[in-house]
Symmetry: C2
Subunit: 311 residues, 2 copies
């Protein structure tokens, strides 16, 4: 099956042509200054026409278009239900109608983290498994679940896709989702600078040399032995691992796939989380495996075919 | 439908005769000193024969027997998969074979918290809802989920039934399940005395008059204004509420039903948890209701008919 795919993040959207487990071509559109989803759609359509033309394909060669969107999505109604800040017009847009009118093919939309899990399930690190949790460690923390080969969704499509929003510290920080002490509020790209800023002794740490501390700087300064960096890194590892245990207890997976930008440090993160989960999660049936995602930034795009094939 | 039902706890087992939404009669058997599950079964059979005789019923009048067991249970294979301490022979016993041989009727077994949810769904506080989480606050903390009218189970039957074992404090205490900082490890009947013992200033508190502090003493001394009791009570309320938010984010319920022994203080607990969940959980579709369980200790017994009716 050939399909069009979009991975819609906060600052950019990647448009791809996929055929089964292969990404034929893709192009990333900058959406950082876009004030509305509607204003981005003409560029998206143009990009797809251009990509198809280069491969001598027409829109009718594609079974449909699959959209991964960074927000709450109900794939059954085809609607974005909440956007958490960006693209506030998104909940009012009927994307399937837009696609049929503009591209002449049907559209399905899903939460981007769920799309990435579908990609890793279909063509990546979770291939061969039916019980899967995927965590995405980046600006936010994604956590989605597949049970018995199907994405868990629930009535309002919110089940099994807010795994970064389990509370790991009930006395913790307010999260962008509105809750308190979510894993994301304590150890994600956006919350890390807040944690660093408040850390006792940070002013004497190598971290203070950086104008903004991201996970790259944190892992680098930890590797050089800076004690504050090590302490904050270890706190992050424990939070991700505790969140993973919570996800095991909630969703009963056999494998946890971890992706996202922070996985440039996979050599530290994967063994730590695996050891922790195998030691602390209650799984009398056996041991949960923890693996790095295999598809990198293409995971959500490669979720297109399984999403369009779902009934 | 008439059914036999057992609610198997750590220290006692309640045997009941049920007909649809009504409990016809019941009797509780003390199992505190029982070293094995096998040693209790003859008493259970005897109790059912006696209860049936009193109602002039024979075993053939019952569609089957439904067992709620305080441990991990795979209802599809009919096996107890883990017992967490008590009845270590349980995982080796084929209870359906025992029932067919001894009582002449089929048996189904399920986790006791799942049975209680089925009871509240069929005949209690969750009646009319299909998206339900039930929390049981007692010696431990139960947390089970129903999605689109079905109990969530997963491949190893562990999905959606360990809701008391989401981490609310990633730096917290070791739980009986083996994990760290579970809600149960921080605010349950068994962990409360450990929290009280370590509380700064507890020696000057009214709590120190009690040889053992349970939730009864904690809520009573809080109501009298003891500041340590109030602080510990509020910490428990926040942990239960944070756990509830985690369960909302995991399972997308429309209602949370709370039962268990601690609910003698429902007048404090229900409004607190409801307000917290409605303020902090991310539910753009609407507001999650929080209600006290309606069936008390009979909830699991009244789960018998829906369990036996499942296909």
């Amino acid at each position: 099956m050939k399909a069009l795919a979009i991975d819609f993040g906060g600052t950019h959207a990647t448009c791809g042509l996929v055929e089964d487990r292969a990404l034929l071509s893709c192009e990333t559109v900058d959406t950082d200054r876009a004030r509305s989803l509607a204003s981005v759609l003409p560029t998206i359509a143009e990009t797809f026409h251009k990509l198809a033309q280069r491969q001598s394909l027409s829109m009718q060669d594609f079974a449909g278009i699959a959209v991964g969107f960074a927000g709450l999505v109900d794939s059954r109604t085809g609607r974005i239900t909440a956007t958490n800040g960006k693209y506030e017009d998104a909940t009012a847009i009927d994307l399937d109608a837009w696609s049929r009118k503009t591209l002449g093919i049907p559209l399905r939309i899903e939460n981007d983290a769920r799309m990435a899990l579908l990609g890793e399930f279909f063509a990546g690190a979770a291939s061969g498994f039916t019980e899967v949790v995927m965590m995405t460690l980046g600006t936010g923390i994604g956590g989605v679940a597949m049970i018995e080969g199907k994405l868990l969704r629930g009535k309002h499509a919110q089940a099994g896709c807010l795994g970064g929003h389990l509370p790991v510290l009930f006395t913790g920080r307010i999260c962008t989702c509105g809750a308190i002490g979510c894993a994301e509020a304590e150890a994600s790209g956006w919350s890390l600078p807040l944690v660093v800023k408040d850390w006792p002794g940070v002013e004497h740490s190598a971290l203070s040399k950086h104008t903004e501390v991201g996970f790259k700087e944190l892992f680098e300064e930890s590797a050089r032995g800076d004690s504050v960096a090590v302490a904050i890194r270890d706190r992050c590892l424990n939070i991700w691992a505790a969140d993973a245990v919570g996800l095991v207890h909630a969703f009963d997976p056999e494998i946890i796939v971890i992706g996202g930008g922070v996985m440039k440090s996979a050599d530290v993160i994967i063994p730590y989380v695996e050891q922790y989960v195998q030691k602390y999660a209650w799984t009398p049936w056996g041991k949960v495996q923890v693996r790095a995602a295999a598809l990198g930034n293409n995971a959500a795009l490669l979720g297109a075919v399984p999403l369009l094939s779902e009934n």
